[in-house]
Amino acid sequence: MNVVATAHTLLAPEAEWSHDGAFHIIEQLSKPIHRNLEPVGPHYLAHARRKRHHRTFSEDDRIVAAQQAKNVEDADSGEISEPEDPLLLSRDPKDWKNQDHYAVLGLSKYRWKATDEQIKKAHRKKVLKHHPDKKAAAGGIDDDNFFKCIQKAMEILTDPIKRRQYDSVDEFADVEPPSRKAKGNIYKLWNPVFDSEGRFSKKKPVPRFGDDKSTKPNVEEFYNFWYNFDSWRTFEYLDEDVPDDNENRDQKRHVERKNKAARAKRKTEDTARLRKIVDDALAMDVRLQKFRKEERLQKDAKKIAREAEEKRLAEEAKKKAEEDAKRKEEEEAAAKASKADAKKAKEAAKNAAKKNKRVLRKGAEDANYFHPDGAAPPDVINNVLADVELLITKLDNEELDVVAKKLAGLKVADDVKGVLVDSIHSTIGKGSAKESDYKILLQ
C-alpha cells in the first residue's frame, strides 16, 4: 500500500470535543456520477479483477501477494530440487571424463532432453550455491573442487558439439533392452528403449514403437526406419588423450590412429547392437504375428467367399438349365395340342362346308331350280346346278356358312334366288368371278 508522506500539519481542535466517541459524522458524501472507465492499463485490470471477484482492496492485495509468492516458489523449484549426492560433491574435477555432467547440474532426470534454457538456469543456481567465495565466507574450507566440476559440466553441455559427444556415451540415458525371454507388455518394455535410442537419429521425428492399436503401415514404417537408422552417435568422448606435439611425434600419431580405430570399432559395435535390438524387437513383436494371422484369415475368407460364389454360380446354372428343359417340354406339348385342334377344326370346317354346300344345292333343288311351274327341264336343272357349283367354288368356308344360314328356312323360290344372286354379286364385286360365268341365275 502506498503511503504519501506530506509535510502538512493537521488541525488542533478549536473547541472542546463534545461528541460521543472519537468519530463524528456530519454529512454524507455527495452523490456520485456514473462514468465509463477506459478498460486500459495495469491499474484498470486490477480494478476489473477486484470487481469481478468481489474482492476488497486488502483481500486482493493478499491474494495477489500469495499468487506472486507461489510463482516465485514454482520458478525456484524444479531443476535444483534434486538432492545432491555427497559422493558427487567430493568428486575430483580432474576425472571429468567419468563425471555425470547432468547429475552435477542437477538435471539427471532430463539428461539429453534438457533445454539450453534449463541448463543455463541450473548452472546459475548451482553456482550461487557452490561458489568458492561463498564457501569461504561461510567459514568452510577453501574447496573449489565441486565448483570446477560444475564449470566443466557447463562447458560441455553448452557447447553443442561437446554435448553431442557426451550424449553419445551417456550410458545413464540408455535403457536396457529386454531379454528375448522377457514376459509382460512388450509395448511397455520396448517403447522406452526405442525412445532412448531415437535420440541419436539424424532424421526427426522418430517413429515410436507404438501399441497394439498401431496399424500395419505404421509398424512397417517403424521397422524400415530402424533398419535404415541414420545415427549421429560418435565416440570421440572415449578417446585416449593425445600427447602434446612436442613429445614424440610417432607416439602421437600412434595414439591418434588407435583412437580412430577405436571409434570405428565402437561405431560398428553400436550399429550391430542396434541391429540386434531391432531384430529382438521384431522377433518379439506379436503384432507382426497378428498381422500375418489377419492376412491369412483375410486370404481364407477371400477363398471361402470365392468358393461360395462359384457354388452359387453352379447352382444357378443348373437351375436355369432345368427351367429351360421344362419350358421346352411345355412348349412342345402345347404345339402338339394345337396341331390336333387345328386338324379337328379343319375337319369340322370341311364337314360344315360340305353341309353348307348341300344346303345351297338343296336350296336350289327345293326352289324347283327357279323354274316357274312344272318340272324344270333338265338343261335348266343342269345350268342352275352348274351356277350353284360355281358359286360354291367361289365362296370360302365362312361366306358359305353365312349364305347357308340365310338360306336356312327360306321356302319361297325368289327369296332363295335373291340370296344366291346377292352372294353371286358379292363374289363378282370381289372380282373372283365374272358375270358371264353364270349361265342362268343372273338372267
Partner: protein, 572 residues
C-alpha cells in the same frame, strides 16, 4: 519446471490504425514498447494501398503512386469504415481513388489486375489487406507469427465500426484482443515510463493532431485508472491543412516566376503536396527547408526554400484553430485550463514547434506539455498510440478471450465516480494570510472511480495535544496572487506620467498570477486523536467503497489504537 508445462509466450502487437498513417509496436521482454519499422524502414507506415499492374503496393511505395496512379491508389479509408456512403466526407479522397456506393457502405473501384474488369473493394476488404500487410511486417521483424493485437481507434468510433474493424482484422487471421481509444493509448505510453506502481492523480489533456483530423480529450487519471471526461473533434483540421498552406505558398511563388498555377494540374498538385509534406517535416526539425521538384508544371523545375518563421506565420490560423479546440474541450469537461496537470501532444503534426509552444503558453508553467518542442524527454508523438496499444497488448496477452470480454464489459467499466474532491483540512503556514494556500489536502480528487483508497501521513501538531482530523469535500478556487502593486511602483520610480501608469496597469494584467487553491466545501466527518506528542506523525487512510461508504482510519504512527469510523453512502 519443464518447458512443456509453461504456457507458450504469446506474440502480441499494438497497431495504431490511422487515417493517414499506421504504426505497429511490440513490447519487448524488458516491458518497454518499441515501434517496428516495416521492410522499407518506415515507422510511420502510410495507410495507403495502390494497385499497379498485377502488384499491390503498400505504405510509402503506395503513397508515391498518388502522383502517377491516383485512381488506383486507396488512401484515407479508415474513417469510411462502417459508414454509409451518404455519411462520408470524400474531400480527402479527391486526389486518390474515389469512394463509391457499395451495398450499404463505401467501396473503391480500382484496377486490381491488368487484364480484368476493375475490382470493387469494400472498405472492410481494404482494411483487411492493410492490416495483413502491417501484421506481416511485424511478423517479419519479430520472426514469429503474431497471435493477437490491440488496435487503437478515435473516441468517436461507434460500436458497429469497432465490430467491423475486428472482423476485418480477423479476415486476415489476426485476432483483435481489444480495441482501445487513441488518447488513452497515448496516455498509457507515457504512464508506462513511470517506474512507480502508484501513479499520481492527474488530469490530462491529450491533443491528437493527425493527418486529416484533430481530436482533443480530457482524461482523468486517478490511481492509474483513466476516465474520459470530454472529447472534441475537428474533422477538417490536420496535417493536410498544414501541408496546404505550404502548397499555396509555393504555388504563388511558382506562379510569380512562370505564370502557371501548379494547383490546376492534378499531377502537379499531387507532386507538390507530397514534397510540401516533407518540407513541413523538415521545418519541425530545422529552421529552414529546401524544396525542389523536377518538372512541377509545364515541364518547369521548381526550387525554393522556406524558413520556419514564414511557415509559422502561414500556419498561424491553423494553430489558432487547434488552440480553440483545446479551449473548447476543457470547457466541455467543465474545468479550468489551470486544472489540467499535463498536456500530451500526439499525432505526427504535433512535431510542429509553433503548435506545441502555443499550447504551452495556454497553460501555467507547472503544467507539463509533452511534445518534442517543449520537453526533451518526450516520446515521438506519432508513435504514442502504437506504443500504448503494444503495452496494453502485453498486459492482456495471457488473458482468455472470455476474460477480456468480461473485463471490458460495461458492468465492470461503468463505475461511480466522485463528483467532489475528498480530503482532510490542514493548517496554513503561520504568518501568512493563507489566501493563497491550500486549505485541504486532497486524498481523492473529483472524478475518482470508486472503490478507491488513499493513505497519507501528516505531522500531528506543532505543539502537541489533541489532533482533529476533519474530512471534507473540497472545491478549487482561483486566487489572484499577483505581487502587490506598490512594490512594482517602487521599482518603476515615482515620476511616471499617466500614460506610463496605463501601461503599467496593462502589464499588471498581463502578469496577473492566478493560483488554484483548495477550499472546504462541505464537512463530512471529524475524528479526534487524543494526546498526540509534538511532531508525531499521524497516518490517515480514506477508503471509499463501491457504494460510496467512506471509511476513515486515523492513527498515530508507532502509537497504539487509533480512530476508525464509517460514513454510510448516500442513497443512490
Amino acid at each position: 519446471m519443464s518447458d512443456t508445462d509453461e504456457p507458450q509466450q504469446k506474440t502480441v502487437i499494438g497497431i495504431a490504425f490511422g487515417n493517414s498513417n499506421s504504426s505497429i509496436a511490440f513490447t519487448g521482454p524488458d516491458g518497454k514498447a518499441e515501434v517496428i519499422a516495416n521492410e522499407e524502414g518506415d515507422r510511420q507506415i502510410p495507410s495507403v494501398l495502390s494497385y499497379v499492374g498485377d502488384e499491390e503496393y503498400h505504405g510509402a511505395q503506395a503513397k508515391s503512386h498518388l502522383v502517377r496512379n491516383p485512381r488506383d491508389t486507396i488512401a484515407f479509408f479508415r474513417d469510411y469504415l462502417g459508414k454509409s456512403f451518404a455519411a462520408v466526407d470524400p474531400t480527402n479522397a479527391h486526389s486518390s481513388a474515389h469512394p463509391i456506393q457499395h451495398d450499404t457502405g463505401v467501396a473503391f473501384s480500382v484496377q486490381e489486375k491488368t487484364d480484368a474488369d476493375p475490382a470493387t473493394l469494400s472498405v472492410s476488404e481494404v482494411t483487411t489487406r492493410h492490416i495483413k500487410r502491417l501484421s506481416d511486417s511485424a511478423a517479419d521483424f519479430l520472426g514469429k507469427s503474431i497471435d493477437g493485437c490491440v488496435i487503437t481507434v478515435p473516441t468517436d468510433f461507434s460500436e458497429s465500426q469497432r465490430k467491423l474493424l475486428a472482423e476485418a482484422s480477423k479476415g486476415c487471421g489476426l485476432t483483435v484482443l481489444q480495441i482501445i481509444h487513441e488518447p488513452v493509448a497515448a496516455l498509457l505510453a507515457y504512464a508506462a515510463r513511470e517506474e512507480t506502481s502508484h501513479p499520481a492523480d492527474k488530469t490530462i489533456l491529450v491533443v491528437d493532431v493527425g493527418g486529416t483530423r484533430t481530436d482533443a480529450a480530457v482524461i482523468a487519471a486517478r490511481g492509474g485508472m483513466y476516465t474520459l471526461l470530454a472529447t472534441q473533434h475537428d474533422y477538417e483540421l490536420g496535417g493536410r491543412q498544414f501541408d496546404e498552406v505550404l502548397v499555396d505558398h509555393f504555388s504563388k511563388e511558382f506562379m510569380k516566376k512562370h505564370k502557371t498555377d501548379p494547383r490546376e494540374n492534378e499531377r502537379s498538385l499531387a507532386k507538390l503536396r507530397l514534397e510540401c509534406e516533407n518540407t513541413k517535416k523538415t521545418l519541425s526539425l530545422s529552421n529552414s527547408s529546401q524544396i525542389s521538384i523536377d518538372s512541377l508544371a509545364g515541364g518547369l523545375d521548381f526550387h525554393s526554400s522556406v524558413n520556419r518563421l514564414r511557415y509559422d506565420l502561414l500556419s498561424k490560423k491553423l494553430v489558432d484553430q487547434v488552440v480553440g479546440l483545446v479551449e473548447s474541450v476543457v470547457k466541455k469537461a467543465e474545468m479550468d485550463l489551470m486544472d489540467i496537470n499535463e498536456v500530451i501532444l500526439a499525432g505526427g503534426t504535433s512535431h510542429t514547434p509553433k503548435l506545441a509552444l502555443r499550447i504551452q503558453q495556454l497553460f501555467p508553467a507547472t503544467t507539463a506539455v509533452q511534445s518534442p518542442a517543449t520537453t526533451t524527454t518526450s516520446l515521438n508523438p506519432a508513435e504514442l498510440c502504437a506504443r500504448g496499444a503494444a503495452i496494453q497488448a502485453s498486459l492482456i496477452a495471457e488473458f482468455d478471450a472470455e476474460d477480456i470480454e468480461q473485463s471490458t464489459h460495461p458492468a465492470v467499466t461503468v463505475t461511480p465516480h466522485l463528483t467532489k474532491s475528498l480530503g482532510v483540512v490542514i493548517t496554513s503556514p503561520a504568518g501568512d494570510d493563507g489566501k493563497a494556500d491550500d486549505k485541504v489536502y486532497v486524498f481523492l480528487e473529483s472524478e475518482t472511480a470508486v472503490p478507491a483508497r488513499r493513505t497519507a501521513t501528516f505531522t500531528g501538531t506543532n505543539v502537541g495535544g489533541d489532533v482533529l482530523v476533519r474530512i471534507v469535500e473540497a472545491k478549487k478556487e482561483s486566487v489572484d496572487v499577483t505581487p502587490a502593486k506598490e512594490a512594482k511602483e517602487k521599482v518603476n520610480g515615482a515620476d511616471d506620467d499617466e500614460d506610463d501608469d496605463d501601461d503599467d496597469d496593462e502589464d499588471d494584467e498581463d502578469e496577473k498570477v492566478i493560483k488554484r487553491v483548495t477550499e472546504v466545501e462541505r464537512v463530512i466527518a471529524e475524528a479526534l486523536l487524543k494526546d498526540v506528542k509534538k511532531g508525531a506523525k499521524v497516518e490517515v487512510m480514506l477508503n471509499v467503497a463501491g457504494d460510496l461508504t467512506l471509511t476513515v482510519t486515523a492513527r498515530v504512527v508507532g502509537g497504539q489504537g487509533g480512530v476508525r469510523g464509517t460514513v454510510p453512502g448516500p442513497a443512490l
